[in-house]
Symmetry: C2
Subunit: 232 residues, 2 copies
C-alpha cells in the first residue's frame, strides 16, 4: 500500500499505540482502493474477509429484511467498520455502500486476528474500540425505544451542533432521506418533523440548519450523556 496512507491509519486509536513491527505486518497485507459512489463494498450475510478503514469519502451501513431497508449508520473518515465480524470471523450483519467517491483501506481479517494474539497493546485497543461500539449501539437503541421521532430529530440536531462546536448554523452531513431512515422514520415525516421544530427555533434551508435558541431546543430535546454522548 502507498506509504502516505499509513500515517492516517496509524493515527487511529486502534493502531496508534501498537508495536511498529506488528503494524508493519498488518500493513503488508493491506491494500487501499478508490471506489466510485454507490458501490456495494460488502453485502449482508457475506463472510468477513477484511477490516475496512474509510480514509476519505463516506460509507453507509444498511440492513434489509423482507424487502424493507434501514440505515444503521454512516461511517466517515478516519474510522473502521465491521470490526466485530472481523474478530468473530462471522458473517456481516450489515451491508456497506459508498455514498460518494471514497478511499478505503482493506486489512485482511486473518491478519487482524493473528496480530491480536501477539500484541497486547493492540488487543487492548481492540477491546476498547469494541466496547465503545457496543455502547454506541446501546445508546442508539435507547434513543429508538424511549423517544418519539421528533425528540430523536431534536437530539440529532443538537449532536450535530456539538460537532461544529456549538455554531448556530451548520450543514446536515447526509441526505435527508438517509437521515430519515437512520432516525427510523420516512422522508415525508422528517420533512414534517423539521417543521415541527420551528417553534423551538429551528430554521431549515435545504441542508442548512440554524438553531436560533439553543436553550429552547435543549429544553425540548432533553439530551443526556447516557444516550447522546457518543464519545463516552
Amino acid at each position: 500500500m502507498p506509504e502516505s496512507y499509513r500515517a492516517y491509519i496509524r493515527a487511529l486509536h486502534l493502531f496508534v499505540d501498537m508495536d511498529a513491527d506488528h503494524f508493519e505486518a498488518l500493513m503488508r497485507g493491506t491494500y487501499v482502493q478508490n471506489f466510485p459512489p454507490q458501490v456495494e463494498l460488502i453485502s449482508e450475510g457475506e463472510p468477513s474477509d477484511f477490516l475496512h478503514v474509510v480514509l476519505s469519502g463516506s460509507v453507509e451501513l444498511t440492513s434489509t429484511w423482507n424487502g424493507r431497508e434501514t440505515t444503521m449508520a454512516t461511517v466517515r473518515p478516519i474510522s473502521t467498520f465491521i470490526l466485530a465480524a472481523t474478530i468473530k470471523d462471522a458473517p456481516y450483519l450489515m451491508a456497506a455502500k459508498t455514498l460518494e467517491k471514497s478511499r478505503i483501506a482493506l486489512i485482511p481479517s486473518s491478519d487482524v486476528r493473528a496480530v491480536f494474539d501477539t500484541d497486547h497493546i493492540f488487543a487492548r485497543a481492540i477491546v476498547t474500540e469494541l466496547a465503545q461500539c457496543y455502547r454506541s449501539v446501546i445508546k442508539s437503541q435507547k434513543d429508538l425505544k424511549l423517544r418519539t421521532s421528533l425528540e430523536r430529530l431534536a437530539n440529532y440536531l443538537l449532536r450535530q451542533q456539538d460537532r461544529v462546536n456549538g455554531a448556530a448554523e451548520f450543514e446536515l452531513q447526509i441526505e435527508k432521506r438517509r437521515l430519515a431512515s437512520f432516525l427510523g422514520m420516512t422522508p415525508e415525516n422528517l420533512s414534517r418533523a423539521l417543521k415541527g421544530l420551528q417553534p423551538y427555533g429551528v430554521e431549515v434551508n435545504g441542508n442548512q440548519i440554524r438553531i436560533n435558541d439553543q436553550a429552547d431546543l435543549l429544553q425540548f430535546a432533553k439530551p443526556t450523556p447516557l444516550i447522546d454522548d457518543y464519545a463516552s
Copy 2:
C-alpha cells in the same frame, strides 16, 4: 467466595480457557451475594465497579429517559452483564434489577482490567464476548427497525421454541408486561398481538404457548440468522 460457585463461573466462555493462577487472582476479590427480588443492583449512570455474573435467578436490564422506561434485556444464569462498562471504566448505560431471588457474583472491574493486560487467553475471550454482545444488539436493532410488533413477537416465539429444541409447547420465561417492553410495545398491544397470531396456529394459555403449525408461523415470521440467531 465459596468454592462451589467457582466451577460455574470457570465454565463460562469468558473464563474457561484462562490461566488457573489468573483465574484465582480474579476470584480472590470476587464475592457472591444473594439478593431478594426487585433489588436494584446497579443504576443508570453509576460508575462500573464490578463485573456481574448471574449464578441463579434472573436480572432485568432497563433504561429510562424523561420518565419513560424500557426493558433492554433479561439476563439468566450463567452469564455476565455490563462487560463493556467494566472494560471502558465508563458509567452504566442501563440499570439492573433482580426479577427473582438471585445469586450474583461480583468481580471487581479493576481486577478484570488488570488480568486482561497479563492474560492473552482471557483477553481473547473478552474480545470474543464483546463482539458477540455487539452483534446481538445490532440484531436487536434490526429487529426493532425492520419489523412490526406482530412480526417481532412471532420471531420471539420461534426463538423461544428453538430454546426448548422445537417443542410445540413451552412457557414464556418472563412476565408479559416485561416482554411487551422488551419487544417495544405496550402490555395491551402484546395481548392483542398474541391473539393476532392465532391465525398462524399460536395458542396462548397464561404463560403457556403452543405453536400448532410451526411451518405456518415460520412463513409469517420469516426469521433469518442475521437477526434471530443470537449465537452467531
